[in-house]
Amino acid sequence: MADAKLVASNVCKIYNAGKKNAFKAIDNVNVEVCENEFVCMVGPSGCGKSTLLRMFAGLDFPTSGEITIDGEKIIGPGANRGMVFQTYTLFPWMTVEDNIKFGPKLKKMTKQEQQEITDKYLTAIGLEKFRNSRPKELSGGMKQRVAIARALANNPEVLLMDEPFGALDLFTKSQMQLMMRELWQRERTTIVFITHDIEEAVFLGTKVYVMSASPGQIREVIDIDLPYSRDLDLKDTPEFIKIRRHIHSLLH
């Protein structure tokens, strides 16, 4: 595919290679993420999906195979690939606003540009009132919203999300999914989103990679043919349930 932005080709990851306790985490995985796509990768724990995402980020490297962005091999982390983690990673000594400004500041944008971007994303996540709060004053859901804003404010070419809503309660989680889908529809940032929640993957994605565990492999790639504008009621429609059931059957 010519327009594939982020490509993993024949990627294998073996931990402790050559030793007795060698462990194949990822086996011959191929992934293609095109521009403006919202790709979700779903699979049970231990299927290597987080490892794969960390390799996209340049925080980890394949044992064999290659990962490229715009045809260039990934050799380390960079501002063109933003990341949101499952754990809370806001900088606790900074206010919400300064957290969001972290990336723009590193890029040496002018004070005014920094402020404009920060204000834009504070509004997008609905936390204008909390601009001067410290992370410890925020709930889990709010922290993750700020983390998303912080990553987006850096204007990454690809946004990598590692089970960002995994630690949230069900209600907060669906609110976050709704916000995430809206954010993507507005910004059309290319996103790779890891989750073990099938419903979440189907609701958010334009394409879902279904992975199976030990070793981690791609079972199937599903194009999600659901309405572009989505609300939570979508989860109760027959079309949605059909896809969800299909993925479920693949994993069990």
Partner: protein, 265 residues
């Protein structure tokens, strides 16, 4: 209804203070009784009031201030030197395995060597001047400090550093803008603890090789069997330690209001 007792329950600040004060009071009372009714030979255990009198004497004749001044100078210099060298080395060790390979095993090894054993050696090498005392404090604290700073750095989560990297920070910025601010509160707690140990090593140095300082004043008192003066020395060192600790604890709370777990312990 009476609820069950469980560990880690909260306690009212006032009540906590009261219990602490009462503990000190009981200790003082036992001491007073034991000495006043001469249950212990007064030569061994002077009355608290006599210790106070002695303390007042040293305040008036100025000897307390000179001894304190000298001791504080030595401990500050030794501790400052250990901090200025130990903190960057500890941080570098946690960042780069190659640096760690140089310093960690070395520090692990030397920290098991008894500091007093270095005193004779240092006297041979540098005489009984100020520098040898400063070096004792340095040797006593530096090696521990490096290891504890490494620990402080390692307790910063990988994801926090990864967050910095994926926001476009290079190694330098990740260290200065993420790692160091993140470990700063626990580093300050480490320094707070180390300064307590520094007092111990200072007194060791002054007991063996000095003619000034609080440690020396204790040694001098022992020669003339002036137990009250020995008590003065010990109590003054204890108080100085306590004051340093309280001031540092207060500063840590003020400087790092964002810390999730600033304890009152």
């Amino acid at each position: 209804m009476q609820t069950k007792i469980m560990i880690r329950r909260k306690m009212k600040q006032a009540r906590y203070m009261m219990v602490s004060v009462v503990t000190f009071a009981i200790l003082l009372l036992v001491w007073s009784m034991a000495s006043h009714f001469e249950m212990v030979d007064p030569l061994f255990l002077p009355e608290p009031i006599n210790v106070l009198k002695k303390l007042w004497e040293t305040v008036c004749d100025g000897s307390l201030w000179t001894d304190m001044g000298v001791s504080i100078y030595r401990i500050s210099m030794g501790f400052l030197l250990a901090t200025v060298l130990g903190v960057p080395i500890g941080i570098l060790c946690s960042c780069f395995k190659s640096v760690s390979a140089v310093f960690s095993p070395l520090c692990q090894f030397i920290r098991y060597m008894p500091v007093p054993a270095f005193v004779p050696l240092l006297m041979v090498w540098m005489g009984i001047g100020e520098f040898s005392k400063i070096m004792i404090v340095f040797i006593g604290t530096f090696f521990q400090l490096v290891l504890m700073i490494i620990d402080d750095c390692n307790s910063v989560s990988d994801d926090l550093l990864a967050a910095g990297y994926t926001l476009g920070a290079n190694n330098r910025t990740t260290v200065f803008r993420v790692l160091i601010p993140a470990m700063a509160p626990s580093m300050m707690q480490t320094l707070r603890m180390m300064i307590g140990w520094a007092w111990t090593y200072l007194v060791v140095a002054e007991l063996v090789a000095a003619n000034t300082g609080l440690g020396y004043s204790i040694l001098k008192a022992q020669r003339f069997l002036k137990t009250d003066a020995i008590f003065v020395g010990i109590v003054v060192i204890g108080l100085l330690g306590l004051i340093t600790d309280i001031v540092l604890g207060f500063l840590i709370k003020k400087i790092f209001p964002w810390e999730e777990s600033v304890s009152n312990g």
